[in-house]
Structures are given as C-alpha cells and as structure tokens.
C-alpha cells in the first residue's frame, strides 16, 4: 500500500528515440490507474520504468516515500503481471508462486501460508502441482496474479495482462482482477490498449499519445470531457464523429460545407475548430427542422442492443448510434446535433475549447 509519484519522468533510448516525455503523475494509495493509448505511445515503457526494467533517463520516481530511481526491480516492492504470463515453465504452480518469496529468504511456513492463501483466493487449490503447460489461458493468468499477490507488494503492475485471452474470458478476468484489487487495496498501474478495459477497471485513466499524457481523469471525465481531439477519438466505440468547422467570435459554429449548426453560449475563441459529437447523441429524423443537417445513409451495422447507422454529413463520414428501439425513419434523413452535446477543439492544437 503506497502512493506513487512520477515527477518529470523522461525516457530517451540510446538510439535517440524519445519514448516518454516529461511525465507527471500522482497515484493515490490504493488507486487503480489505467494507462491507455495506441501502440507505441510509451505506455509500456512508462510501466517498465516504474518496474525498474527500463532505466529512467531523468526525473524522479517515488514509491511509498522512497526514491526508487536506482533500485533494482526486486527492491522496489512491486509485482508485475506480464502479457504472456511469463510463468516458469519447468516449475509447478506452487513453485512459480513461491519462487520470489524463496529468493527473499522467507521461512518455509510463511511461504506455504502465503501461497495457499493466494491459491484459495484465485481458486487454484487443485492445480498447485501442475505445470503451466497443463493449464488453460485463464488459469495461467491466475497463477501470474497469484505470483504477484503472494509478495504483498506496495504496487501491482499489469502489462496488458488480458490480451492473450479470448473475449469471454477477458471479460471475466477483468472483473476478477478488479475485485481482487479492491479486496487487497493495493495500488495498481494497469497498461492496456483496450479502451473497454480502461473504462471499466480504472479509478482514473491516463491517456497517452506519442510519449505524452493527453489527459488524466476518471472514466466519466475522459468520456464526457475529453481534453483533446486525440482523447475524444481514441476513447469510445464507435469513435466520436469529428467535423471541420469554424467558430466565429460570437460562438456560432459553421461546419465546412454544411453551414451553421448552432451556437455556443459564450466563448472568446474564434477560428478553425473541430467539432465532435458522440454517435449516440445524434438524433435522426425525416423532417428538416431547426439546424439539423441532411444525412446520407450508406449502410447499417446491427449490434443487437443498438445499431450503427453509417453515412455522410456533407462530405464527412458520420456514424449514428441508435438504440435498438429507435427505428431508422423512412425517407430522406436529417441529423440533429444538439449543441449541448458538442465537443469543440482548436483545429491546430487539438485542445478542448472551454465552453
């Protein structure tokens, strides 16, 4: 149990590649932080820097109240769960979990108690004498979790632990990991590229892009108040619709090729912007009214609980997410974009415009 603080952490590889730019992050005691971003955004590098598997080029890393920049991974009081589990193939499940404790010269009885306790928690009691190769993917993942738990570390690190599992198991393990973490109350940092994992598991999400933090916030904040175009289009499936537009000083939004779609209450900003709207916020009708815009319907994806209506607004691709009960109206379609649901970003910097 510990808080973790990252101060201006930098990672520059010997070949000059700047993987992580000055990163500041305060992780509270017992918090579940998810680092999310596209591949190559530096999220794994950042995690491995916390673990001590990558050197820190500059900046400070504290776990608990200790400055750990130069400590070996083994001395940082952390445990890590790897994507491919990284179980020792020649050891039984029991020994896999006990190995780290044995290296720390803990007494046999204590090791036994810790391993059996973890096995109880993870339903691994019947498998303690098996080898990893005799286990299913989900069980291997549990063993990897068990190996982390027995150590009672100050910090759990997860490096895309669920990406080798099939979809069903992934959902189940996601819940298991989250429950376990809540029960143990151990501070956790979890890396994933899967936004569903990020949204469902995190206390706070850190969205990374090109080695820089785009936004830190609760899942709701990230979803409803994205700080940049990148966050807006990365989080959410289907992604947010983005329209090129201009904002004149009075707050009126003029979409390229469409005309005015409404006016914001007040904003001092004027100039080119990107206007985003979540597909589920768009309303479709077959009557032109107010500021709604002609929508050219191309095809529909049926998802069961919802349907995705793909088409164009002007010449820009546009997706509408309709609830299953909402039928697609007959005839020519018009999309209305409620002004209060719009997200406005500066076109050149991608930053959110305060509304």
């Amino acid at each position: 149990m510990a808080h973790v603080s990252l101060k201006a952490l930098e990672k520059i590889y010997p070949n000059g590649y700047h993987a992580v730019h000055g990163t500041d992050l305060e992780i509270q005691d017992g918090e579940f932080i998810v680092l999310v971003g596209p591949s190559g955004c530096g999220k794994s590098t950042l995690l491995r820097m916390i673990a001590g598997l990558e050197d820190i080029t500059s900046g400070d890393l504290e776990i608990g109240d200790r400055w750990v920049n130069d400590l070996d991974p083994a001395d940082r009081d952390i445990a890590m769960v790897f994507q491919n589990y990284a179980l020792y193939p020649h050891m039984t499940v029991y020994n896999n979990m006990a190995y780290g404790l044995r290296n720390r010269k803990i007494s046999k009885e204590d090791i036994d108690a810790a391993v059996r306790g973890a096995a109880d928690m993870l339903n691994l009691n019947d498998y303690l004498d098996r080898r990893p190769s005799q286990l299913s993917g989900g069980q291997r993942q549990r063993v990897a979790m068990g190996r982390a738990i027995v150590r009672e570390p100050a910090l759990f690190l997860f490096d895309e632990p669920l990406s080798n599992l099939d979809a069903k198991l992934r959902n189940q393990m996601r819940i298991e990991i989250r429950n376990l973490q809540k029960k143990l109350g151990t501070t956790s940092v979890y890396v994933t590229h899967d936004q569903v994992e990020a949204m469902t598991m995190a206390d706070r999400i850190v969205v990374l892009n090109a080695g820089q933090i785009e936004q830190i916030g609760t899942p709701a904040e990230i979803y409803h108040q994205p700080a940049s175009v990148f966050v807006a289009s990365f989080m959410g499936a289907p992604p947010m619709n983005m329209l090129e537009a201009t904002l004149n000083g009075a707050g009126a939004i003029e979409v390229a090729g469409l005309g005015a779609i409404g006016a914001l209450n007040s904003t001092p900003y004027s100039g080119p912007v990107k206007v985003g709207i979540r597909p589920e916020k768009v309303k479709l009708s077959n009557r032109q009214e107010g500021d709604n815009q002609p929508f050219i319907h191309e095809f529909t994806e049926e998802l069961g609980a919802a349907r995705l209506v793909h088409g164009r607004l002007g010449d820009m691709p546009f997706v509408v997410n309709l609830h299953q009960e909402d039928m697609i109206p007959e005839g020519a379609l018009f999309a209305s974009l409620p002004v209060e649901t719009l997200h406005v970003f500066e076109a050149d910097t991608g930053k959110r415009v305060a509304v």
Binding site: M80, F82, P89
Partner: protein, 301 residues
C-alpha cells in the same frame, strides 16, 4: 443414416486401394532393411570374427560364422594386461575412455552454456563480435592447431594427464552456437519476471535457464560424448604412457604390438575390443534417444 450407407458401399473399394498402397510400403521397407543390413553387416562380421582365434583370421580373414573363443577373447580383451609394457588391460582403457568422453561432454556443455549465457544476456560491448570470433573457431579444428596445442600442453607438463587430454578440446563453437540460439528463444519476460522475483544473474542461470535447457543439454551431451569417445588423434599425441591409453587408440596398439614381435596379432581380441569400444556410445544414444530428438526439435515452453 445416409452417410453410413455410402461409407459401407465405399468400403471394399478403399480396401482394394489400400492393398495397392501396401506394395509401396513393401518396397519402402525392403529399401530400409537393405540399408540397415548394409550398415550392420560390418558390425555383425566383427562380432562373429571376435569369436574365432587369431589363426582363423590370419588364414581366412573375416569370419562369417560362430566359433568357441568368444568368451575367451572378450575376457582377454578386458582383463589381460597387454601392450608393450604389459601393464594395460581393457578395463583401464575403458575407464580412460569414459573419463575422456564424460569430461569432454560435461566440460563442453558447461563452457558453452556459460559462454552463450554471457553473450545473450549481458549486453557487454562487442558481444556479437565475440560470438562471431568464437564461431570462426569452427574453421580451426584440432587438426589445424595441433602443433601449437601440443606445444602449450607439453610446456605445461600436462602430457599423460587427463587435464591435458580433455581441456584443449573443451572449447566448443558448436555448443555455444546451439545454446545461444536456444537462449535467444527464451522469452524476454521470463528474465524480467525473474528479476522482479529477486533472482540475480547466477540464480537465474541455475534456477531457470539450466532446467529449461535440460533437453538441449541431453542432446548436446550425446553428441559431445560420442565425439569425445571417438577422439583418436589428440589422445595419440598426448598420451605416451600406456596407462593413459583410451580404447580407440588401444585397439590399434594391441594389433601393432604383436606385429612388431613377429607373432600373429591377436585378431580375435582386437575384434572383441572393437565391439567393446562401440558399446558405450551405442548405449548412450539408445537410452537418451527420446531426449535427443526432443532437444533438437522442440523447446519446453
């Protein structure tokens, strides 16, 4: 229902076709049997000849049959002191050969594993370069460097010692290469997991890498043991005392020493000794065969 009916009507046809296929298997097997007979025939001849006394061989050459001197010849080969000094028997040579074979195999495995470990896991400068340097020593087999090697061993006073017999042959580019390839296939995460689990370099090597490589080690052991066992040139050079002779070199010695004294060489005993020489490598290959195949084809991951 329908499918079972069609399959029933198809059955005789399939059977007829199978009988045709069987001709091919007959041919395949005859080729294989012929091949193995050809390979085994000299061994068989040697075994049979080893049951005759020396005169039979001197008069009629190799024998295809069975005589009554079998036990006597093997007894002589193993237990009767012979050689120029009359101090060396088959058992001594057998134990010398075993020491050479085992020392050779174990030494090669230990050295090449450690070399490969250093090359793969420690990012020291010129690691790749030193690997290729090691690799190029494949171009310098013992025969090429035999004079300098002999000079070195001789100047250390290591002639007629096991050390002198084994150590110069121990460095192994092939072994290093095989272990390097194997270590590189061990997932990086395993190393990292071990680091987080508090295993230092030595602990990681002993606790994780060595157990993971055990099939590989077994395969290397077989190859190296047989290779060491069959060494002829180096033992011939380095051992001058008969007490240090290995089997491979002793066979020739038995026959030669009698030739020099104008007697008829003990051919029967020589044949017996040849068979004895062949046995240990054969046994090792037979016993470790499954490990051997495993080590070269699959990895335990």
């Amino acid at each position: 229902m329908k499918s079972s009916v069609t399959s029933a009507t198809n059955l005789p046809k399939i059977n007829r076709r199978r009988r045709l296929v069987k001709w091919e298997t007959v041919i395949d097997h005859s080729v294989l049997i012929l091949g193995s007979a050809l390979m085994l025939f000299p061994v068989l001849l040697t075994i049979m000849t080893s049951s005759y006394d020396k005169l039979a061989f001197a008069k009629n050459g190799l024998q295809f049959g069975w005589s009554d001197k079998f036990i006597e010849n093997y007894n002589k080969a193993l237990f009767e002191p012979s050689g120029f000094s009359g101090t060396i028997d088959g058992m001594t040579m057998l134990s010398n050969s075993l020491i050479l074979g085992l020392g050779f195999a174990v030494g090669k495995i230990v050295i090449s594993m450690m070399a490969a470990y250093a090359i793969v896991y420690f990012r020291f400068r010129f690691a790749t370069f030193s690997f290729w340097i090691i690799f190029t020593t494949l171009l310098l087999p013992l025969e090429v460097r035999i004079l300098p090697s002999y000079e070195v061993i001789q100047s250390f006073g290591l002639t007629n010692t096991y050390t002198g017999l084994i150590v110069p042959l121990i460095a192994s580019a092939t072994g290093t290469f095989f272990f390097r390839q194997f270590f590189r296939s061990v997932p990086e995460e395993l190393v990292e997991a071990a680091r987080i689990d508090g295993a230092g370099p030595v602990k990681f090597f002993i606790d994780i890498l060595v157990p993971l490589s055990k099939t590989m080690i077994a395969a290397m052991f077989i190859i190296m043991f047989v290779f060491g066992w069959n060494q002829y040139l180096w033992p011939t050079l380095i051992t001058t005392e008969e007490g240090m002779f290995t089997l491979v070199r002793g066979i020739k010695n038995i026959i030669q020493s009698f030739t020099d004294s104008n007697a008829i060489p003990e051919y029967g005993v020589g044949m017996a000794l040849t068979i004895i020489t062949m046995l240990p490598p054969v046994l090792i290959v037979v016993f470790f065969q499954s490990w051997f195949v495993k080590g070269l084809t699959e990895s335990d991951k």
